[in-house]
């Protein structure tokens, strides 16, 4: 795919103001004329993004596992933890990418998986007015390479992920807690960490300081099952969360 054609398509995408809304699968009688509040699908942008996703996968076949487009035309590149530095350097330095702005760095905890933590990087390209998401995985003990050398903004974000999830970032200049209290034990955003925590603080007049004690709640925790007996979205039974962009050549 020609490099200049990609850039040309991008300016086309910027100029495309109105697109014909196609019939989405599983949605009956849905068009902007009948339902003006339904968000129109921008097919041109989706096409440009999927082509760029294929371009990234072609340039970095060693590290790109999967490329997908989620709802709202968001491109996601899924990589193993070894690929963090190469892929993010590529996205920042390559002329056709130039994703110079780190918009967000966060973690996700999914305890049912073997590599329970996901680290999500969001980038913005100011030159091409485009966003991209990069996702890696790790477990409690495996470190992920820090990207502080590439994006200075990652410093406090990685500290937050360490504090909240316990994901260690190798070669981080200053990895310490940032949001929790000074002697706090535990990683609060993990799914097995309870909502009210394990400890509570109070001022003790005898010792004249704040003491930390195990928690005592007046009412026990109530978990509500919020599922309704009826199906909520019968029009969206076949709806998929994300569409995979084909990156392997058919041989």
């Amino acid at each position: 795919m020609a490099a200049t054609a990609y850039r040309g398509l991008f300016s086309l995408a910027r100029q495309a103001s109105k697109t014909v809304v196609p019939r989405a699968a599983g949605v009956r009688l849905c068009s902007t004329e009948l339902h003006p509040t339904i968000r129109p699908v921008n097919e041109v942008q989706k096409q440009t993004l999927s082509e760029f996703g294929q371009y990234v996968a072609e340039c970095l076949p060693k590290y790109v596992q999967k490329v997908q487009i989620t709802a709202g035309n968001e491109l996601e590149v899924l990589i193993p933890p070894e690929g963090v530095t190469p892929v993010i350097s590529f996205l920042k330095d390559h002329t056709n990418a130039q994703f110079t702005c780190l918009a967000d760095l966060c973690g996700v905890d999914m305890p049912s998986r073997s590599y329970r933590f996901e680290v999500v990087y969001n980038f913005l390209s100011v030159r091409f007015n485009s966003r991209i998401r990069v996702k890696t995985y790790t477990d409690e003990l495996t470190p992920v390479d820090s990207i502080c050398d590439i994006h200075k903004a990652a410093n406090w974000y990685e500290r937050e992920v360490w504090d909240m999830y316990g994901v260690f970032f190798a070669n981080h200049p200053d990895l310490r807690r940032i949001l929790t209290d000074y002697g706090f034990e535990g990683h609060p955003f993990r799914k097995d960490f309870p909502l009210s925590g394990y400890v509570e603080c109070r001022y003790d007049d005898e010792v004249k300081r704040v003491v930390v004690e195990p928690i005592e709640l007046a009412q026990e925790f109530r978990k509500f099952d919020l599922a309704a007996p009826w199906e909520q979205f019968p029009n969206f039974r076949e709806h998929v969360a994300s569409e995979e962009v084909p990156i392997k050549e058919e041989k």
Binding site: T4, Y63, Q65, K66, L78, D93, T95, S112
Partner: protein, 115 residues
Amino acid sequence: MAARKATTGLTGLAVATNPHHTLGVLYSKILRCLHKMPPDAAYRKYTEQIVTERHNLVKTETDVTKLEQVMNAGQVEEVIQQAENELSLARKMLEWRAWEPLVQEPPSEQWRWPL
């Protein structure tokens, strides 16, 4: 020789004194680095395409303002910055050997969503 313009308008980016020379040097360095990669590597193909195209534009167009317009990539100082980034990236890609096939397959349930 009077400066082409007073400022680039971008903090920390000084006006380039001899942009054609700088760009020529950078592009030839990038091409020399890319030649060390295997010829079927996609990164090499696409980057060579971009770099030779821009190199030809630099060689043919002597006026800097017209060069900026033809390249359509921002000011020459930004183009020089992009070339420096591309050079450092090309050297790192050579070291990482990023054209090889996938180094680690994900576990089967890793990217399934909803869980």
